[in-house]
C-alpha cells in the first residue's frame, strides 16, 4: 500500500521539516504492531451472515406497504446493533423508507450514493404495495450449477428442561444451492436441510417431524413466501409439536430469503392442512419480538459450531443467543467428562426478548471439549430450566 518505513512527506504538513517525526513515527508504528499482536479476533463470519440474513437487505426492508412487519425487522436490526451494548451513530440500521421499486422480476434498480454519512440507499420512490417479484438474480451464471453456501436452518429440539419442552434451535449449515442463487433457491436448500434432522437427532435430540415430506416448490414475492410440500406430514405429533414443526419451516424460509418477516403460506396437493390440523389457507409468521419465546429455545450456542476444530493459539470465545430471565446464563466447560471451568455471562437483553451473549474461555490446551450453557430456575437456583451443549476440539 504505502511505504512502511520512514516519514511520509505527502502526509505531513509542509511546515514541518522532513524527518522531523521519523523517530516517533517508527516508535508508533512498532507500538501499534506490538500492541495488537495479542489481539486474536474470534471467528464471526457465521454470525455476520446470520444476522444479515435475518435482518435482510436495507434496500428491501422497507418494501412492503404493510407496516405490520416493519416492526420486527427494525427490532432485529436493533438487536444486532445492541449485541455488544453498542449503539450506532451515523450508521443507522433502522428500517428506511426506501423500497425497491422494481417492477420487473430481475432488476435491482437501486443505485444510491453510499459516500459521506452512509445513510443508506436514497429514496427513489414510494412503495407500491403490489407484489412485484424481486428475486435478485446474480447475473449470467449458468443454470444447473450449484454452490455450497452457509444457510440458516431451524430445528425442533429439546430446550434442556426436565419435561422435556421442545422449541426451535437455529443452526448455520452448508447447503447446496442451485445457481443462480435466487431467494427461491436459497429457501429451497435451507428447507431441505431443516426437514432432514436425522444427522442431529442423536447428538442434539432434534425431532424429525418432516422425515416423510419433501419441498416441491418455493415462490417468493415481496409480501409472501409460498412453500409447496409433497404432503402435510404425519398426524403423529401433539398439537404444540405440530405447530413448532410448521414454525420451523416458517423461520427457515424467512431467514434464507432474508427480507424480514414475510408471511409464509403452504401448499399441499389434495390436502387443506398440515398434520391434519393446521389449515393451509392462512398465513404463518414469526411471533412478535416480545413473544419469541413461544417459538425459540431459551438458549442457543452459535459459536463454536458443532464439532468445530479451533486453533490452540487463540483464546476460545463462546457466543450465543438467549431468552433468559435477567439476561443471565451460566456455563460449564468440560474436557472429556471432567469439568474444567465455569462461569456466568450476561446477554445484551433479558427475557422476554432474545439477547446476545458472549464469553471467553481463554486459550485451551489441545483436546476435546464441550461447552454447556444453561439457565437455572429463579426459584431454587439449581434446577436447570434450559441448556445447550456444543462439542468442539482444540488442536
Amino acid at each position: 500500500m504505502n511505504n512502511r518505513n520512514g516519514s511520509h512527506p505527502d502526509f505531513l504538513h509542509p511546515d514541518f521539516e522532513p524527518g522531523e517525526f521519523d523517530r516517533v513515527e517508527r516508535q508508533l508504528r512498532r507500538a501499534l504492531a506490538e500492541d495488537t499482536r495479542r489481539v486474536h479476533p474470534s471467528h464471526r463470519l457465521e454470525a455476520i451472515l446470520h444476522e444479515a440474513h435475518e435482518a435482510g437487505p436495507v434496500s428491501a426492508t422497507g418494501g412492503s406497504g404493510s407496516r405490520r412487519w416493519l416492526v420486527p425487522v427494525a427490532a432485529a436490526a436493533a438487536v444486532a446493533a445492541l449485541a455488544g451494548g453498542l449503539l450506532w451513530s451515523n450508521q443507522d440500521d433502522r428500517v428506511e423508507p426506501a423500497p425497491p421499486v422494481n417492477s420487473g422480476p430481475t432488476t435491482i434498480a437501486t443505485t444510491p450514493s453510499i459516500s459521506g454519512s452512509a445513510t443508506g440507499p436514497a429514496t427513489s420512490g414510494q412503495s407500491s404495495s403490489s407484489a412485484a417479484t424481486t428475486a435478485p438474480t446474480t447475473g449470467t451464471t449458468t443454470p444447473g450449477q450449484s454452490r455450497t453456501m452457509a444457510l440458516p436452518v431451524y430445528f425442533v429440539g429439546p430446550v434442556g428442561d426436565a419435561k422435556p419442552t421442545y422449541k426451535l434451535f437455529r443452526e448455520f449449515l452448508p447447503g447446496t444451492v442451485t445457481l443462480p442463487a435466487t431467494d427461491e433457491a436459497k429457501a429451497t436448500a435451507a428447507l431441505r436441510l431443516a426437514m432432514n434432522a436425522q444427522p442431529y437427532s442423536n447428538t442434539d435430540g432434534y425431532l424429525q417431524p418432516w422425515s416423510g415430506t419433501r419441498v416441491t416448490s418455493v415462490r417468493v414475492t415481496q409480501d409472501r413466501i409460498t412453500v409447496g410440500l409433497s404432503n402435510g406430514g404425519p398426524p403423529a405429533f401433539d398439537r404444540e409439536t405440530q405447530r413448532l414443526a410448521v414454525q420451523e419451516l416458517v423461520w427457515t424460509a424467512q431467514a434464507a430469503v432474508g427480507k424480514g418477516t414475510i408471511p409464509v403460506r403452504f401448499e399441499v396437493p389434495g390436502q387443506g392442512s398440515l398434520y391434519g390440523s393446521l389449515p393451509t389457507d392462512r398465513d404463518y409468521n414469526r411471533p412478535a419480538k416480545d413473544q419469541l419465546w413461544k417459538d425459540l429455545a431459551p438458549i442457543w450456542v452459535t459459536s463454536p459450531s458443532r464439532d468445530q476444530v479451533l486453533p490452540a493459539s487463540k483464546p476460545v470465545v463462546v457466543q450465543g443467543q438467549a431468552i433468559v430471565f435477567e439476561a443471565t446464563v451460566s456455563w460449564q466447560l468440560s474436557r472429556g467428562t471432567t469439568a474444567v471451568k465455569n462461569g456466568h455471562a450476561t446477554a445484551s437483553i433479558g427475557a422476554p426478548e432474545q439477547g446476545s451473549y458472549s464469553f471467553e474461555l481463554g486459550r485451551l490446551a489441545p483436546g476435546d471439549y464441550s461447552i454447556r450453557v444453561f439457565e437455572t430456575s429463579m426459584k431454587d437456583g439449581t434446577t436447570v430450566t434450559a441448556e445447550k451443549t456444543v462439542a468442539f476440539s482444540v488442536r
Binding site: 502526509f11 516517533v24 507500538a31 506490538e34 453498542l86 440500521d93
Partner: protein
C-alpha cells in the same frame, strides 16, 4: 469472484462478497477497533455490525472498494459510539495509569517480547490514549493500517487538510510525551 459491470454483469452475491471481505479485513479491522476501544468483545461487535451493514447494503455498495471504505467508516463510527456509551476508554486509561506495563492486558508475554522495547511500546500506547479521539483515529489508521491520507479522510468524513492537521498535532504531542518520558 470477478466483477463485471455494467454489461454482462457477474456480481458476487452478498454472501460471497462478505466472505471475501471478511477474509481480507476482519482481523485488521478488529485490531483497529481494539486500538480505538481497548475492549476485545466490543471491538469484535463493532466490526461484526459493520460487516452486517455491508451485507445488507451490498446491492448498493456494488464493489469491494466501496465496501471496504464503508467498513472503515462504520468501524470508526462504531468505535466512537462504543466509547461514548461504554466509557471503556476511561476504564482503559485508568488501568494503564495504574499499571504502566500492563498494555499487553491479555496474557503471557515471552521474555524476548518483554525485553524488546516493551517500555517504549507501553508508554507510546499510553501516550496515544491521551490524544484526542480524532488524532488517535488518524494516527491509528495511518500507522497501523497504512492507509493513505485520502482513505483516512474518506473514512472519517473530514478533509485531507484536517487529516494532515490531526496527524501533525498528534505526532507532535506523542513526540513531546515520549521525550519527556525518556
Amino acid at each position: 469472484m470477478a466483477e463485471r459491470e455494467p454489461g454482462g454483469r457477474l456480481r458476487p452475491t452478498a454472501d460471497e462478497a462478505v466472505g471475501e471481505l471478511y477474509a481480507a479485513h476482519w482481523k485488521g479491522l478488529v485490531r483497529l477497533a481494539w486500538l480505538l476501544l481497548r475492549d476485545d468483545l466490543a471491538a469484535e461487535e463493532v466490526v461484526q455490525d459493520a460487516f452486517i451493514a455491508v451485507h445488507r447494503r451490498w446491492d448498493s455498495l456494488r464493489s469491494h472498494e466501496n465496501a471496504t471504505a464503508y467498513l472503515r467508516r462504520a468501524v470508526v463510527n462504531g468505535a466512537r459510539s462504543g466509547l461514548r456509551h461504554r466509557g471503556v476508554e476511561e476504564r482503559y486509561l485508568t488501568r494503564e495509569q495504574g499499571e504502566p506495563t500492563s498494555y499487553a492486558r491479555r496474557t503471557e508475554k515471552s521474555a524476548e517480547e518483554r525485553a524488546l522495547d516493551a517500555e517504549t511500546t507501553s508508554s507510546m500506547i499510553v501516550a496515544l490514549g491521551h490524544l484526542s479521539q480524532r488524532q488517535k483515529e488518524v494516527l491509528t489508521m495511518r500507522y497501523y493500517l497504512d492507509l493513505s491520507e485520502a482513505e483516512i479522510a474518506d473514512a472519517l468524513g473530514i478533509s485531507a487538510g484536517s487529516v494532515k492537521a490531526h496527524a501533525h498535532r498528534g505526532l507532535a504531542t506523542l513526540r513531546d510525551r515520549m521525550e519527556t518520558a525518556s
